[in-house]
Amino acid sequence: MNQFAIQTHALTKSYGRAEAVRSLNLEVPDGSICGFLGKNGAGKSTTIKMLLGICWPTSGAGTVLGASIRDARASLEARRRIGFVSEDKRLYHYMSVGQMICFTRSFYPRWRDALEQQLLRQFQLPLERKTGQLSKGMRTKLALLLALCRGADLLILDEPTEGLDPVAVEEVLQLLARAAADGATIFFSSHQIAEVEQIADRVAIIDDGRMLLQESLDDLKERYRRIQLLFDREAPWKPLDVRGIAAARAEGPAVSLLASGNIDEIVAAARSLDPVSLEVAQVNLKEIFLECVRRN
């Protein structure tokens, strides 16, 4: 059995001269919940489309559930085991909610009827209403229902909580956590870093088509530290020549360092500057993300 539900090697997608995705090496282990973070236009949706065979890579390779993304037949078979929510959640406007469910269900022998009924109640989706008449939030809920009920081994979700109110977001995050507990691998993109932090156990950060970082969230949080220095004078600002300093900022008597590892050495070097106080604090995913993107 493949160790990774998703694995890409040097995956590249160009549109003319513009490279949307550049030599991307992505690994999503089986059974993980992987948050895929990036700014608008970073290449998240293009990557997802390549994984699903919706667009073709310019170069590089990849497998999804063991099937090569360049092999149309294998990719089609893999899609029987994949649930997907697209970026804009558009569905067939001429179909009612009930027709959309009936249509989608026919392609998935492992369709989860009980979950369908539960989600219809939970999301309060009107079966008779045309999808073109649904609000964006309702459309997102329907798209999630259509993805979750497939009984998929892998859920690929492109901004699955977009347009939802906070209560619905919480419900969806719980549903995703439950799907993962049932054995599904979840790969989802989001701009809501707090959501990723809440349920993901792994994070991949992409910017300008390049993979900046992919790591387990626990390892990432263990590795990164914020080091705050306070001086009794104007901060003696000079760059510390120590490996692992991801960012440094000085304001008056205060200096803030973001360390991406090698904490002990950085702390020792900082102490040599003779600050009146030195604090080492954990950082959240948002700080790490912003730092990665700024540095790129």
């Binding site: 065979g53 919706i54 667009c55 149309a72 037949r73 899609r79 558009r90 179909m95 026919s106 392609f107």
Partner: protein, 252 residues
């Protein structure tokens, strides 16, 4: 593809195109009925000036000739244009509407989607031909004439067999050209020109596609337009093959 999947894909394309299909059927039946109901007026007009009025000229030669020359030719032209318009749509249009990622995330191959779309279009165009030509015998009764249903359906069969290329042309043009309305407009316009221009050129009228679609050789001695039907079938197969090849490499 499992039968249930095929059925639902067929159902999706039917829902997607049924509005256009009903409209096309209404246009064709109205045209057929109006053409037949005009027959008495054409006969009266023929007494004044046979040379100037084409339909009066045809009417003077009898109802059957009038139907073939005045009704079936118009129906064939309209049918071909409407068939192209009905055939347009598909994955590039879905890309514009934002639904292509959903469809392609299902275990549905691009070529399967095109093939089913083509099947639905052919079925609809078949129904259009039968409906329009079938309306002629019914309308004939209203003007005190008779026209055999079997004969009308034979002409419908000729139209369908000789016009299958136009149905597939709609599929091809919407596979190659992005847009919600432009492929239909451009497709219908090119078909109109293809059918009308040769009609105006003396010497090739008999070989013109419109004459083939309208079954002219069949009306002049019962000869089926085998060559025209064969050319249309080959062209349809070639265009379908090209559409399937193009869609394989597209990004959505």
């Amino acid at each position: 593809m499992r039968p249930q999947e095929l059925k639902m894909l067929w159902y999706k394309y039917w829902l997607e195109t049924r509005g256009g299909f009903v409209l096309a059927m209404a246009v064709l039946i109205t045209t057929a009925a109006a053409g037949v109901l005009y027959f008495p007026a054409a006969v009266r007009g023929g007494m004044h000036d046979l040379a100037l009025h084409h339909h009066a000229n045809a009417a003077a030669r009898g109802f059957a000739i009038y139907v073939r020359e005045e009704v079936f030719e118009k129906l064939a032209l309209l049918w071909a244009m409407l068939s192209v318009m009905l055939g347009t749509g598909g994955l590039l249009k879905e890309k514009l509407l934002g639904t292509a990622p959903f469809l392609l995330s299902l275990p549905v191959g691009r070529r399967q989607a095109i093939a089913v779309r083509c099947g639905v279009s052919m079925m609809q165009c078949g129904c259009l031909a039968l409906g329009a030509y079938g309306a002629v015998p019914a309308a004939a009764l209203l003007v005190g004439q008779s026209y055999g249903l079997g004969l009308a359906l034979r002409y419908a069969g000729i139209l369908l067999a000789a016009g299958v290329a136009f149905v597939v042309y709609g599929i091809l043009i919407s596979t190659a050209m992005e847009g919600t309305a432009w492929p239909a407009i451009i497709g219908a316009t090119t078909v109109f020109l293809l059918l009308i221009v040769p009609e105006a050129v003396k010497g090739i009228v008999r070989l013109a596609p419109l004459a083939v679609l309208a079954g002219e050789s069949y009306s002049h001695g019962g000869v089926m337009p085998w060559a025209g039907m064969a050319i249309s079938s080959v062209a349809a197969a070639a265009m379908l093959g090209l559409a399937l090849w193009v869609v394989k490499w597209q990004d959505f």
